[in-house]
Symmetry: C2
Subunit: 507 residues, 2 copies
């Protein structure tokens, strides 16, 4: 079968548009995957902790060579931090330009917690009947062919070198088939995403003319869980943070001498936080959810996501979810107001019988496109004032201590803004069509992902839609020890890239 289709493909060089309905994307991906493994091993063997400039340098150089080999021009976009790498390839007769985004850096590693000597020396593994992962020889790939349940264990196998390798492998397959991509390609590689892409917004401003494109496709992140089906995500929540510090006596005081009399900041903070949300987790601050209306059409889009909430609850160990939305997908359409940390006095071994001097709450607000982060922050601040607090921007002065019956320091920061592309926009329809063609089934369409990625600067500065095409398995231990990539996802990732590169944008 495979050979037949390949022959067929070869006869029709340069006719990507025509091929899409007849190609066997799966077969081509299965054939290409083993050929891509040696280069992938080479890539994963490069340490990529962005704290170390030498790590960054090696990965930048590798990418320059790899993309140049595939006919790209490469250009380092210098920033005050690590450079970005822009790889550009012009396609004859193409009219559109698609900008791809991935990152090449990874989270720091703690080798002691990995089941292999070096997280940057990839290991092929299979799972035993007992559920353990045991190393197997790379040679088995040649000898037996790839078992889709095998996995490659290495830092960044999934996040985010895997998708880059899938893309390069798809380009190689197209070259072998003599087929040109359906549009001009720009690929921007980020080398400090795991450090928060601090220099990215400024760089997008500075290099906006070089980055000009019709749409942005983000190649990062896991597919829908637990279905592991091909997935498209049309947005991501942004993130803002607030640190609240409530003050009691200026130093911790004896809870015997002063308990029942000195104001307790832990109690005050608890009461303040309790006043912000109801028992189902819904924010009570007026205006916090303003502008968010889930139409019937939107609800239908959300309902088609094949979540398995009972399974997820069982895995996470709780029975009662918050009720901000009627489902997990609905809940993600609203901004959150999440207490991510809280501290006052001492606990456990260090506990002391005191009235604490202060109490701190760390809050993150996951932003949606409808919410103005400045406005949400302002609403929280006003709410605190309405609870009788003097709201401060720094430590309380002596004057503030003597004038205010309640004192709260308020430190807010907007990290990433949200973005969201219309599911039914032209590029949205294109990608749904492309994945449907390649997999014979409509992809899982997520109206927005819950997490935050540094994509809003592209959307806002370049004025283009952005859509994420995730490919890796959700249980990849991203950011953690023993990160891995399921080879079934590697193959289907190549299949996904083939669809993206060949299915024409215009219907």
């Amino acid at each position: 079968m495979r050979r037949i289709f390949l022959t067929f493909a070869l006869c029709c060089m340069g006719q990507a548009a025509w091929l899409q309905a007849t190609w066997d994307y799966a077969a081509l991906a299965r054939e290409r995957a083993p050929l891509a493994i040696p280069e992938f091993i080479e890539l994963l063997s490069l340490p990529n902790d962005a704290h170390f400039p030498e790590h960054v340098r090696q990965n930048v150089q590798w990418a320059e060579v790899a993309f140049a080999k595939r006919g790209f021009q490469t250009q380092r976009l210098e920033t005050a931090g690590p450079p970005l790498l822009l790889c550009t390839r012009q396609v004859p007769k193409a009219t559109k330009t698609i900008l791809f985004y991935s990152h090449m850096d990874g989270q720091p590693v703690d080798p002691a917690k990995w089941h292999q000597a070096d997280p940057w020396q990839p290991v092929l593994k299979r799972q035993t009947a007992a559920g353990q992962w045991e190393a197997i020889p790379w040679l088995w790939i040649q000898e037996q062919g790839i078992d889709p349940e095998w996995r490659i264990f290495a830092r960044s196998a999934s996040d985010d070198k895997g998708p880059v390798m899938m893309f390069l492998a798809a380009l190689d397959a197209l070259k072998q088939a003599g087929i040109e991509p359906a549009y001009h390609i720009k690929y921007i590689l980020d080398f400090e995403e795991e450090q928060g892409s601090k220099h990215l917004p400024q760089a997008v401003e500075q290099y906006r003319s070089l980055l000009k494109a019709d749409a942005l496709i983000i190649l990062d992140g896991p597919r829908h869980y637990p279905s592991n089906r091909p997935t498209l995500s049309f947005g991501a929540r942004g993130i803002a943070t607030i640190t609240l510090t409530v003050y009691g006596p200026r130093m911790p005081v004896h809870s015997g001498h002063y308990g029942n009399w000195a104001p307790n900041p832990a109690l005050q903070l608890a009461q303040l936080l309790a006043s912000m949300k109801d028992s189902d987790g819904r924010v009570l601050i007026p205006g916090f959810y303003d502008g968010i209306e889930l139409s019937e059409e939107v609800r239908a889009t959300l309902a088609q996501v094949p979540d398995n909430e009972p399974l997820l609850k069982q895995q996470l160990g709780f029975v009662q979810a918050e009720k901000v939305g009627a489902s997990l997908q609905e809940a993600l359409q609203y901004p959150s107001l999440n207490i991510r940390g809280m501290a006052s006095g001492w606990i456990g071994d260090k506990v002391r019988t005191i009235v604490p001097d202060k109490a701190v709450a760390e809050i993150d607000i996951r932003l949606v496109k409808e919410s103005d982060p400045e406005q949400l922050i302002q609403l929280v601040r006003q709410h605190i004032e309405s609870q009788g607090y003097c709201v401060l921007d720094s430590e309380p002065t002596e004057e503030a201590r003597m004038q205010c019956s309640r004192l709260c320091r308020f430190d807010a920061h907007i990290a990433y803004r949200a973005f969201r592309t219309d599911v039914n926009s032209p590029y949205g329809k294109w990608l749904q069509r492309a994945l449907s063609v390649a997999f014979g089934q409509a992809p899982v369409v997520k109206r927005t992902s819950g997490g935050s990625i540094p994509i809003a600067p592209f959307v806002e500065t370049l004025g283009i839609p952005a859509i994420t095409v995730p490919t890796v398995n959700a249980d990849n231990n991203q950011h953690s020890p023993n990160e891995n990539l399921r080879l079934g996802n590697f193959i289907e990732g190549i299949q996904t890239m083939l669809a993206l590169l060949t299915v024409p944008i215009e219907q």
Copy 2:
């Protein structure tokens, strides 16, 4: 003047009862104080961190010698920890026996934080115009006489070796005056008070016949602040503790992927704590304050305490106290429910964008005599149940996670019970009379102190009233670096002990 009175005193050997109204207690104490300083330096030079058996041994031996020298029989009461030392002196014709309690151990020291090389090498200091404490020669005491504002800096100068030395000095003064104490004396010395006197309750049970007495006087703690006037305290609050742990997902989860859906234990804990108290700090749990009635007589007793609440608030840095009682003294008549520690997730440098897996609150309940600690703990537990929680005694099982919408682990412990002696009881009246005679003014009478001391076992096991006679300055840096004793308080402490030892119990 002093000489006249002394002569007068010497002529009346053994007639303590008669002397009390005519003696110049102040003069006798002023004369005795400098003579006691060398022995006090010797005592303070003995390290007394109860973590080290050698420290305990040295202090026990010193006390054995010091009390034997004053005509006491000494007896080590062995326990599973450090021994107690019981020093007994029979007085001819006496009918009553008073048991005194002090402790000889001190808090651990951190020499780096002291303004002297060795916290166990006492230094005499005076305060400069700029408010700094500068060392002065011990010789100045002989040359210039004691300035009451000078202070001795050393660990346990105030807590609690100072009162022991005052007592010994008073005995020496009586001996020189040829006067016998007004009752038989038993003095019990504790060598692990700063470690919680863990072995004391058992020892009191075991040695109850040896400890038999008519009343207990506790020589420990600071006088009323800020007046620094002679003080009597008729009780102490007890203490029980509760640790609450509220559970969310079984591990911290991504606040983007799950924020608005996974239950947040920090929010739940905040709401739970907020449900327990109103905004003025009053406990809302029905029955928590049951049995506490402050009669007009009690309110009058509380009102005579010369607190300076505006000054105290200014020093502690707040303007609005809790309103459990109409005053600090009234507030101390009620049990507290104090959040002494709280923690969930991470804050500050370590902050992570997660929904935490659990949230912990450490609570202390300062107990009053009216409140049954078991009952208060039960009320709190029932309140948590009434808020929809499954209340657990250990980590949640898988079954509990799958059955309970809210999970709270509840660990309670009763440390010390409260005690309180009637202000107008015979021994209460005696001590008020004694201090009035010695100082020409009624003492500050505290119905109860807010803190907790391990005295309830004496009261309950021996069935005797207990009253605390504090003598040291409140600003003595007790438990902290640069602990000190004001020499004015040392002198007036000797004066206090002279009154205690000579003013007859029966009117």
